[in-house]
């Protein structure tokens, strides 16, 4: 490490962001460094002369900053428990502990740097070619390769931090707060639109923060100040800094990240003024620390008051390199020479000459010496496209500034659907045919001359404001700028006989790798990207894509405009999972009795969005608690909250006829006061729901549905009736009613102990009856149903009375031994009766005949949804049936849901529900078996966990109380 202790600039006009009155120290790899408030980690390290920041991905070559703006991966470091931090974005704070990554040993003496000599074992596409032959050898290479690959360290114990989301709405969104963005935003706001300007840096101004206009820094800074003051004065212009727009989606839906917040923005018009990315010169050892973009050096000087070195070489093909040379002199540095790839002219060139800088024309860099930092560069004359003479000069230096052109930041426009095409006149890409509502400004629109940028940005902003506010808008202002042709050199790529000319710094790809991709047969740009990995690293091709296209063009002979580009997709910058996950809104639905369940110690389970008690008691006592609940229902009485069950009020003169069409059974003649089982199939005859239809009045049915299917049932009913236009109204009253099921031999005693106008005697209120009235003052609908196989009453009341109903029944039931029971016990109880649960014992293809529900299919109805399909399938022949079974030896290993039934090595069926029955003392369940194997006594084998085969036999259902005497009590 070579330290230059006087890297901080003393002169005025430098260090806009730092506060020299607030020094602080931090550590990098355990060594103490000093910086100022406002420094980033990288600027403070450079300020102390520490240029080496990391080791490259594949070859472990030493690297330093390239962009000083968070756009390259050379600056990745680890900050405490956070990996992959960009050191040129992360602020320095007192005591910050920063470590370098991707090295074994120290950053200066990385043991993995030997990889630099093993280049020939790591050719392009090496993971398809090496390390896996002879067969079986990969497992020896895998472990060390996994150790070497990967950047940064994840700490599984890292504490969760706070992240959230916010919504914004605006008329015109301007992305980018440089000259064009500021002018467009001002024009949009003055044009009457609500305007939002988003800038990724902490300060507005873009390249005006460090650049020159016509060689004058004062002109640029004055323009910046005026624009910022104007922008901040406009009441309808909101400005967000340190915020990055990461994706443009349909209809003006925009994602942006600001610190720990994900912004979801809806805008009417979007102007992309996101600027351009610098492009490197490709020459041997062009990746040495200290070789960086001219704009990076200017940022270091203007924003952080740091000189990038003491003696610089500037390699340029446009006036920006000359601007940087003047900045370096103003900052007290030396310029060894300006190596101009052509013969640039202009005020900045004149000023450079006037200050005595040595200028070499039609020359380029072809090599760099120095390992941990550049020490000298070799200069040669350019003799043709990509061709040079031998080295004519070695220039001693400790930093090299590059400015040979740009590529516009078209990613966002591309997300939105604009096409990206190469314009050979300017040697840069353009976005064409942006979708409605998206326009571009500034260098993103290939405008570079300051007054062209200004007039175009103003016209674009005004037009956007008119479109956003619905006023008549003019035509799209054309974006032609003759000055754009002088920005980007067409082929700054100079192959050396000795290699290591880097095209992609993230992936350590050299010219040879791109050439070989094409030679290996992967010449389409889509294949080049994936085969070579060019552009796949953290920089996402910002500094690699253009040169990759140029090399492919040179090798294939096709011009860049024919080769095309790969596709840009969101996100533009890394979004953390925490941004997606922070403060998500996931509603939970609680029944009106929820508090009572909590008080009784319920363990909850989710049923869709609802929380339901699975059982009551300690978590580690589950099996025992559930058994006790089952026994209570069978021997005394149990109370379960079934409020989540779907409820539909179906009313009107056509109510019965409507239900007749929607469900499989017959309902037109159902008497008032009776409940009837309902089975619903879809138009393809597949079972989708079951429940109970209660006829409360001739024109009023109350129909229950399962918790998970009620929404689907309601949608199906309304969809059919939009077309049938029957005189009926369907209301989804699921949430309006709460309900409990009171079941067990003592159920009647319990309800009869309460004041009611309902006669609960067996004669007056038989099984499958329904009554309305009041119970202890609560208005109720009461159904006598038998899901769990005991005498029982399903009591529905308006949801506001739910908790009171629970309390009244629990108090009335106490002397009779009433216990609350949960979903787990209910599943066992119903399975002991062989009752199916739709979705558990039926699947996406089950028709009613397979499920043993032929009895619920009305034979004489001309139509119900699914009838035609069921008859078609019956005629074809049913191939499987759902039957009850019991294990022949209940002490063996128990099967689980979905375990397979296997015969002669083939799968012939599966278990849908199974339980160790406390009531019967054996393992019973339901299973699908092939038709023909469904007679009682049929034996079969189930494959359980561990591949063990367990014998079972078909048993008729119900397993418990086959005569159904107990539910008829």
């Amino acid at each position: 490490m070579s330290a230059s202790p006087t890297s901080r600039i003393e002169n005025g006009g430098f260090g806009l962001l730092i506060d020299r009155t607030k020094p602080m120290s931090f550590t990098f790899d355990g060594r103490l460094f000093n910086g100022y408030h406002g420094d980033t980690i990288a600027s403070a390290l450079y300020g102390a002369g520490q240029v080496l920041l990391s080791r490259s991905f594949k070859y472990h070559r030493p690297r330093g900053a390239l962009t000083m703006n968070g756009l390259d991966a050379n600056t990745l470091v680890q900050v405490a428990d956070e990996p992959n931090v960009r050191a040129d974005l992360h602020a320095v704070t007192p005591g910050l502990a920063v470590t370098s990554i991707n090295r074994l040993g120290s950053l200066e003496r990385d043991a993995f740097s030997v990889m630099d000599y093993f280049g020939r074992f790591l050719p392009v596409g090496f993971y398809y070619k090496t390390f896996f032959r002879p067969a079986g050898v990969w497992k020896y290479f895998e472990r060390p390769i996994r150790i070497m690959a990967g950047l940064g360290t994840l700490d599984p114990r890292a504490a969760h931090k706070y992240y959230d989301k916010a919504y914004l709405f605006t008329g015109v969104l301007v992305v980018g707060g440089g000259q064009a963005g500021l002018q467009a935003a001002i024009a949009a706001a003055e044009g009457g639109a609500d305007t939002l300007l988003i800038e990724e840096n902490s300060e507005l101004g873009g390249s005006l923060l460090y650049g020159r206009i016509d060689g004058s820094r004062e002109t640029a800074e004055a323009l910046r100040r005026d624009l910022v003051a104007k922008a901040r004065s406009l009441k309808n212009l909101t400005i967000l800094t340190s915020t990055v727009v990461t994706g443009l989606f349909t209809d003006g839906w925009v994602a942006a990240v600001s610190g720990n917040r994900l912004l979801k923005i809806r805008t009417r018009q979007t102007i992309v003024a996101a600027g351009s990315f610098d492009q490197p010169i490709v020459f041997r050892n062009n990746d040495r620390p200290g070789i960086l973009f001219a704009t990076a050096a200017q940022r270091l000087m203007r924003l952080y008051g740091v000189r990038p070195g003491t003696r610089a070489v500037i390699a340029t093909s446009n006036t920006f390199g000359y601007d940087a040379a003047l900045d370096l002199l103003d900052a007290g540095g030396e310029v060894a020479a300006i190596v101009d790839l052509g013969a640039t002219s202009g005020p900045a060139v004149e000023a450079a000459r006037a200050r005595g800088i040595r200028i070499l024309n039609n020359a380029t860099l072809v090599d760099a010496k120095g390992y941990l930092r550049v020490e000298s560069v070799g200069v040669a004359a350019i003799t043709g496209t990509g061709k040079t003479s031998a080295v004519t000069d070695w220039l001693t230096c400790d930093c090299v500034l590059i400015s040979v052109g740009c590529s516009p930041a078209l990613n966002l426009a591309s997300h939105a659907g604009a096409k990206v095409v190469f314009d050979p006149a300017i040697q840069m890409h353009r976005a064409i045919n942006p979708p409605q509502g998206v326009s571009l400004a500034g260098s993103a629109a290939s405008l570079w001359t300051p007054d062209r940028v200004a007039s175009h940005a103003k016209a674009t902003g005004t037009r956007a404001a008119h479109l956003a506010t619905g006023s008549p808008a003019g035509d799209d202002p054309g974006s032609a700028d003759p000055g754009a042709a002088a920005i980007t050199h067409p082929y700054p790529i100079f192959k050396s006989g000795k290699g290591k000319e880097f095209i992609d710094f993230d992936e350590d790809l050299t010219i040879k790798d791109i050439v070989n991709s094409v030679k290996d047969g992967y010449g389409d740009i889509q294949l080049v990207k994936r085969y070579s990995t060019a552009g796949l690293g953290p920089s996402q091709g910002r500094h690699a894509n253009l040169n990759t296209i140029r090399v492919v063009s040179a090798v294939t002979g096709k011009p860049p405009e024919v080769i095309g580009t790969t596709t840009f997709r969101p996100p533009l910058v890394p979004e953390k999972f925490a941004h997606m996950a922070g403060r998500a809104f996931e509603p939970t639905r609680l029944t009106s009795m929820h508090r009572r369940h909590e008080e009784l110690g319920a363990q909850f389970m989710t049923a869709g969005l609802w929380l339901r008690p699975a059982f009551y008691g300690a978590k580690d006592n589950a099996a025992r608690a559930i058994e006790d609940e089952v026994r209570a229902v069978r021997n005394a009485a149990g109370l379960i909250d079934v409020s989540t069950l779907g409820g539909l009020d179906i009313r009107g003169p056509d109510a019965a006829a409507f239900i007749d069409r929607m469900y499989t059974w017959a309902y037109e003649k159902q008497p008032v006061g009776r409940a009837r089982y309902t089975l619903m199939t879809d138009i393809a005859g597949v079972v989708i729901d079951d429940g109970v239809a209660c006829r409360l009045a001739p024109n009023h049915y109350y129909v229950t549905a399962t918790t998970s299917a009620v929404d689907q049932v309601y949608r199906a009913m309304t969809w059919f009736n939009v077309q049938w236009k029957m005189d009926v109204d369907v209301a989804n009253v699921t949430a309006a009613y709460s309900a409990v099921n009171l079941a067990g031999p003592k159920a009647r005693d319990i309800v009869q102990s309460l004041a009611s106008d309902i006669d609960f005697s067996k004669e007056a209120f038989p099984y499958m009856g329904v009554r309305t009235g009041t119970l202890a003052g609560i208005p109720v609908r009461v159904l006598r149903v038998g899901f769990v196989g005991e005498a029982g009453y399903e009591i529905h009341c308006p949801a506001g009375f739910g908790e009171a109903l629970w309390d009244i029944l629990m108090a009335a039931g106490k002397p009779h031994g009433l216990k609350p029971f949960g979903v787990e016990a209910q599943r066992i109880l119903r399975l002991e009766k062989g009752h199916i649960i739709v979705g558990q014992d039926t699947d996406g293809l089950t028709n009613p005949i397979e499920a043993g529900m032929d009895w619920a299919l009305a034979k004489k109805k001309p139509f119900y949804v699914g009838k035609r399909s069921i008859e078609l399938q019956a005629a074809k022949g049913i191939t499987r049936k759902l039957v009850g079974f019991a294990l022949t030896d209940s002490s063996g290993p128990a099967p689980k849901d979905c375990h397979l039934i296997i015969r002669d090595g083939a799968i012939i069926g599966r278990i849908t529900s199974v339980v160790q029955s406390p009531t019967l003392g054996k393992v019973v369940g339901l299973a699908y078996l092939p038709a023909g194997m469904t007679d009682a006594g049929q034996r079969f084998e189930i494959r359980v966990d561990g591949g063990v085969m367990v014998p079972a036999e078909v048993v008729p259902t119900p397993f418990y109380d086959p005569d159904n005497a107990r539910q008829d009590l």
Partner: protein, 115 residues
């Protein structure tokens, strides 16, 4: 995310809607052959171009009809089911058959931008 204009509720985020499938007339189950019935259930036209389909605004459970271009994903218009029926009967009354959904056959120009 896209905005869809519900005939009842006005423009809403597409996440509030549920797609209801192509709008296709149901053959009479009593007279359709097995083949016709099976085709109605399981075969989709899958047209590249303008199609007519059902949509549901889930929060208000409101069913309506939309015309959409499946190539550009542009929602051309939305209407109530009754408006759709009225359009059908006007078309048959004036003697025009309902314009078949335009299908675009052959490959479309892909340029170099699809991955």
């Amino acid at each position: 995310m896209k905005i869809l204009k519900c005939p009842l509720n006005g423009p809403r985020n597409i996440s509030e809607f549920v797609w209801g499938g192509d709008l296709k007339p149901m053959p009479d189950p009593a007279t359709a052959t097995d083949a016709q019935w099976t085709e109605y259930l399981f075969l989709e036209d899958n047209l590249a171009g303008e199609i007519t389909e059902w949509w549901l605004h889930a929060p208000t459970n409101y069913w309506f009809v939309a015309r959409r271009n499946t190539i550009t994903d542009e929602i051309i218009e939305t209407m109530t089911y009754d408006a759709y029926l009225a359009r059908q009967s006007n078309a048959t009354a004036s003697g025009d058959a309902e314009p078949a959904a335009k299908s675009v056959t052959g490959g479309s120009e892909t340029g170099a931008s699809s991955a």
